[in-house]
Assembly symmetry: C2
C-alpha cells in the first residue's frame, strides 16, 4: 500500500473546520427553508448524454463513472454515466421525471457535492459543495422570482461571518439585443470573449473581438456596454445613450430594471446592475447573477446563477426556471483562515472516572445529561484526574463532571476547567451556559 | 436527448419523502453529537489501490472515476480513482493522513452517500446513504467502546419511528478459535460459507463445508456453533459445552460476554449474542454487529459494523478502531411506505396577495414572519383568494395570511385553512402552534 497523501482538488476539513462548514450549512439550510424551499437530493450520476449536451465547455470537465470490473449482463441497456458538475442539470431532469407528482411553481433547495475534472487552482476544486435554490414553473415563470432569489441569498449571508458582499445582476437579453443591434450576430462567441474582460482587460478583448470579425467600432460598442454598472435603474439611461435599438435589448433592460428596483427596495446596497456579467453556462436565457466579496473581487464569484427557459423540457412541456447557487467550498476556502470553532468536538462535558469500575455509573450520568440535550462523553480511562482534565482541555471541552464517589457521602460536582470553579451539581437538572452547549464559530 | 428515466439502483425521493429522510438524518446527527462524535466529511473518491486491497469481494463493486475527455498533463502522476464503497475505508485513510492533527481516542461520525456497482435488488442500491460512528485510538483500543457503539445506535433508533429492532453481536475470534480448535485452518473460507446460513440453510452449508474439505463431524461443529444465540452471557456455557478449546476462542468469548453484559445493563433486550453473524468485509478482527427489524429478519441488516485492528496503519503506527453504520437508504426503503410528512414544503404560511401591486407589502410581511423563525412564502400571483387558498391546500400549508388592504381601515389577518378560522394577526408577533411550525413525520 502506498503512503496516504491528499488528492489535488479534493479538499477535506479537519474536525474543527468541519464544525465551521456545518454551521454554514445549517444557516443556509434554515434560511432556504424559512423561504419555503423544499429539499431534494438527487443521485450523483447522470447519463453522460445529458451532461454533455450543454455546450463544449462542460464536456472536458465531466468525470465518467464505470464499474471497475466491467459490465454486468444488463450493462448494454444502461446509459454511460458521469458525475454531475452542477445541481441545476440534475434538478431539471428531476423535474421532468417527477413533473406529475410535483406542485408548480416548485421551490426547491439542494445541498450536495458536485464534481468537475478541471485543473485545480485557488478556490477551484474537483469536488466541491454547492447550495442551490431554484423555482420552476410550467410554461411560464413569473419574473418576480428573478428578484426574489438574490434576496434569499442576502438573508442567508447576513447571518454568516463572511463580510461585505455584492450581488451583480445582468440580463443576457441586454448584451444579446445590443450585439444584434450593432450587427454582431454570433452572440455566443462575443459573450465568451467579453466574459474575459476582468481577466485580460479591454485592449485584449477588443483585439479578440476584431479577430472574430467585429469592426473596431463594434468592439468599442461591446466594451462601452460592458463598462456600465449601477446600483439603481440609472443603467437604463446609460445604455440608451449608446444609441443602439433592438427589441431584445429593450426587453432585457426592462427585466433587469425590475430586478434592481425590488432589490433596492428590500435590500438597499445589495444588488448592482453589472452589464459585463455573462456566466459561462449556455443554458441561461435571461437574468444572470454573480456575487463578489467586496475587497476580494479578483477571487471571482462565490454565488452565481440565472434564469433558464429551456433547460427542462420534454418536447411537449417546458419548465422555465431561475436558480442561484452558493459555491460553499469556494467561499469557505477563502474565509476559513479567519474562522475557527470554539472546540473541535460537540462534547460540552467530559464525565470523569475515579476508577474503571465506575464506568457504568459514568454512563448513567452521561445518559442523564444527554436526555436534556447536553452533548457529553465518558472519559476513556480512569487516569489521574489531572490527566482527565488535560484530555478535556486538549479538545476544548469546557466542563468535567465528577460523579459522587461510591460511599454516597458526597454529591456529583462539575468543574468549569477554564476558571477552575467547581460546584455541586445534579445530572438531572444541571445546565451549562447556553453559549457553551454546542461549539460556536468564532471569527 | 433521450427521455428521462430512473437509473436502476440510484433511488431518489419526492419532496415529502425527503422531509422524512431529512428528519431521520437530523435525529441521527443530533444523537451522534450528543454522544460526543465529531463530524467529518471525506472526498467521494479514493485511490483504487486502497479500495481494492480489502478482499476479493469488494473489487467487483468498485465504480472507477476518470475524466471523460482523458488525462491532463499531470494525470500520469495521479492515482487511478474510484468512488468509496463504505465510509470506514476513507475514515481510516483520513486518520492516517491527519494523525498529527487529531486527538485520540478520536470519535467521529460521518453521513454521506457511498457507491457499489452491485446488481440492484430489494433494499440494495448502487448509491445509498450511510451514517457511521467510529472510535479509533493509537496502538491500543479500549474494549469498552465495543459495548458503547450499539448503545448510541439504540439511542438514535429510540427517537425514530422504526419499530422494534435487535442488535446481534458476535466476535470473530469465536468462530476463528473454534474452527482452529476443531482443525479447520482456512478460517476465511469457512466463515464465508457459514455466513450463508440464513440464505441457504444448514443442509446446504454442511454440503459446502464438506466440499471445501471439512469432515461431516467438523461441519456439524460449525453448525452447532452458528446456532447459538442468547440475550445474555449464557452463550458462553453453551459454547463450552461443545468441548472445543482454543486460546482465541476463550478470548473471543470473554470479549463478547463483556459487550453483552454492558448492553443488558444499559439497554435491556437490545443486544443478542448471535454466533452466526460474520460480516462480509475482511477488515473486521473482533466484535461484529448486525441489526434486524424484528418481524422483518429476512430483509437483512440495517445497521452493521465491527472492530478492525489493522485497517488504519502506516507501517509504524496502527490505529485500531470500532465502528457501526446505519444503512439509512436501506432502512428507509423498508419503512418509507408507512411514513409521510405532514406537508411537502417547509412553508407554514402562504402570504396572499389582493393585487399584484401588493407584492412588496407581502414580502415585508413574509420577512417579518421569517425573522421569528416562521417558514413562509408569498403567493405566486394575486389570483382570486379561493385559488390562493387552494394553492396552500395542495401543498399542505396550514395558514394563509391576508395583509391589511391598502386603505389601512382593517388589520392583517390569518386563516387556518384546515378549519376555516380567521383571526386578526400582527406579523411581528403572531405565532403558529408549535406542531405546525415545521413539517412533521407521521406514521
Amino acid at each position: 500500500m502506498s503512503k496516504v497523501r491528499p488528492i489535488s482538488g479534493f479538499p477535506e476539513w479537519l474536525p474543527g473546520e468541519r464544525i465551521v462548514e456545518q454551521h454554514f450549512l445549517d444557516v443556509i439550510r434554515e434560511t432556504f427553508e424559512l423561504h419555503g424551499f423544499a429539499s431534494i437530493r438527487t443521485r450523483a450520476v447522470e447519463p453522460v448524454e445529458r451532461l454533455s449536451s450543454l455546450g463544449e465547455d462542460t464536456d472536458k470537465e465531466i468525470y465518467a463513472v464505470s464499474r471497475l470490473a466491467g459490465g454486468t449482463a444488463d450493462s448494454s441497456r444502461e446509459p454511460k454515466l458521469g458525475l454531475h458538475f452542477d445541481l441545476t442539470v440534475p434538478f431539471a431532469r428531476y423535474v421532468l421525471e417527477n413533473a406529475g407528482k410535483l406542485t408548480f411553481p416548485f421551490r426547491r433547495y439542494q445541498i450536495q457535492p458536485v464534481w468537475r475534472g478541471e485543473r485545480p487552482q485557488e478556490g477551484r476544486y474537483r469536488e466541491f459543495l454547492q447550495c442551490d435554490i431554484d423555482i420552476v414553473d410550467v410554461g411560464q415563470l413569473a419574473p418576480h422570482y428573478e428578484a426574489e432569489l438574490p434576496l434569499v441569498i442576502a438573508d442567508a449571508f447576513s447571518k454568516l461571518p463572511i463580510g461585505p458582499f455584492r450581488i451583480q445582476v445582468n440580463n443576457r437579453k441586454i448584451p444579446e439585443g445590443f450585439y444584434l443591434g450593432i450587427g454582431l450576430t454570433d452572440v455566443t462567441s462575443v459573450l465568451r470573449i467579453v466574459d474575459k474582460l476582468d481577466k485580460i482587460g479591454p485592449g485584449k478583448v477588443s483585439e479578440l473581438l476584431q479577430a472574430a470579425g467585429a469592426t473596431a467600432e463594434q468592439a468599442k460598442g461591446c466594451l462601452a456596454l460592458a463598462e456600465i454598472s449601477a446600483p439603481d435603474e440609472s443603467f437604463v439611461e446609460r445604455v440608451n445613450a449608446l444609441g443602439v435599438e433592438h427589441e431584445t435589448l429593450t426587453e432585457g433592460l426592462a427585466e433587469l430594471a425590475a430586478v434592481i428596483r425590488v432589490g433596492a427596495e428590500h435590500a438597499p446596497g445589495l444588488m448592482v446592475a453589472d452589464l459585463k456579467v455573462a456566466r459561462g453556462l449556455d443554458y441561461y436565457t435571461g437574468t444572470v447573477y454573480e456575487t463578489q466579496l467586496i475587497g476580494q473581487e479578483s477571487y471571482g464569484s462565490i454565488c452565481s446563477g440565472g434564469r433558464y427557459d429551456a433547460l427542462a423540457s420534454d418536447g411537449r412541456t417546458t419548465y422555465p426556471g431561475v436558480g442561484i447557487s452558493i459555491g460553499l467550498s469556494r467561499l469557505l476556502a477563502k474565509i476559513m483562515p479567519s474562522l475557527s470553532a470554539s472546540r473541535s468536538t460537540p462534547s460540552c462535558v467530559l464525565v470523569s472516572l475515579a476508577d474503571d469500575t465506575d464506568r457504568a455509573q459514568g454512563m448513567t450520568v452521561a445518559a442523564s445529561l444527554r436526555r436534556r440535550g447536553i452533548p457529553c462523553e465518558v472519559a476513556p480511562v480512569a487516569a489521574k484526574f489531572g490527566k482527565q482534565i488535560k484530555f478535556a482541555e486538549r479538545r476544548g471541552i469546557p466542563f468535567v463532571w465528577f460523579p459522587a464517589s461510591g460511599d454516597q457521602s458526597n454529591s456529583d460536582s462539575v468543574k468549569d476547567i477554564r476558571n477552575g470553579e467547581q460546584t455541586a451539581a445534579d445530572a438531572s437538572s444541571w445546565l451549562p451556559p447556553a453559549a457553551d452547549l454546542w461549539p460556536r464559530v468564532v471569527a
